[in-house]
Symmetry: C2
Subunit: 205 residues, 2 copies
């Protein structure tokens, strides 16, 4: 479809918008034509908001989460339990856990997981910052909440080894059958783990 | 999901990206985090390409299509048949017809169709420019290729009335059963029109 675009400027905008994840040329054209029809201040507002992601967004110096200031709202909140630290891969994971309303501790954002294939090494992640936090803060427990992939497990294993001499309790997320799932549709590894790691029965209150 | 965003800057970017057609907050966040991870020059390239849609993109002074210069490539091409003019609603329609490789005439982009409900009046469309072109150019036929909606039909009717005194042949797109369609699935209006406007049988060559 793009080879018929009447304008190089439009073509360039479509190609730029195509770089967004999951956007093909048809969607990119739709975005471009939509932007084209807006007023100059509206488009400026749009591009400024995007630019500021790079120019003004900071990284929290404590937990490495994105932040507007030096210290993110979670790290600077006096209401959070500063004895528990949850290690996650990225910002979305922080938001996902926050949305559960089941956790009131602090976070540490690794910025990825170890992956030799993708060239992500120990020095690419915020691991040194994590290990420096343990003696400096009153942390009693570290929860490893990394993805259940080979890369996540490798990272879990490495972190667990590094945390061992630091005298903190290390835990990981419970694995098991999801709430609302039929047993027959659960994969056998998950179902197997949920039997091995069974928990005492409690009536819902 | 958004109420948990750790940063106002990120929140603003997500809200800006949400204004794109068909983009919800989850997709906007995915776009924002993707943009956040790019280098400064990459983000600048992205925002510049978008900005130029407003600052540098022109409208062809003849056909009102988008263009990089004063006259679009179609209007300035000596290979196009300048006796036939196809009136379309927007840029995408020009591209759709160009992609058929079945038309070699010129275009006129109205920039919309008459719609009292949406407040689109005659003066909002490029109708004056169209009527000025007919005596000024060697146009013998005007093809009305507007959408088959009530608004499109209203516009067709209005244009036909305005074109009548200008001594040009006025035609419209053939309506009928789409190629590859089963008759039983065609809507009755289309099927009815395709019987009334039946064409002489010709063997495919």
């Amino acid at each position: 479809m793009n080879n018929q675009l009447p304008s190089v400027i439009l073509q360039n905008a479509v190609e730029a918008l195509r770089t967004l994840p999951g956007v093909g040329s048809r969607t990119a054209l739709r975005y471009a034509l939509n932007l084209m029809r807006r007023t100059q201040p509206e488009v400026e507002h749009f591009t400024t908001a995007v630019s500021r992601l790079k120019t003004d967004l900071k990284t929290c110096r404590r937990c490495c989460n994105v932040s507007d200031s030096d210290l993110c709202p979670i790290c600077s909140s006096p209401k959070r339990d500063n004895t528990t630290l949850c290690v996650v891969e990225n910002v979305q994971d922080v938001m996902a856990i926050e949305n559960t309303n089941s956790y009131n501790g602090l976070y540490h954002v690794l910025g990825g997981v170890l992956s030799p294939i993708d060239g992500i090494r120990i020095s690419d992640l915020n691991i040194a910052q994590l290990l420096a936090r343990i003696p400096a803060e009153p942390i009693a427990e570290v929860i490893l909440a990394l993805p259940t992939t080979m890369e996540g497990d490798t990272t879990n294993f490495y972190l667990n080894k590094q945390l061992a001499p630091l005298h903190v309790r290390v835990s990981t997320l419970a694995r098991g059958v999801a709430i609302g799932d039929n047993l027959e549709y659960a994969d056998e590894v998950t179902l197997g783990q949920s039997i091995v790691n069974r928990i005492p029965f409690s009536t819902p209150n």
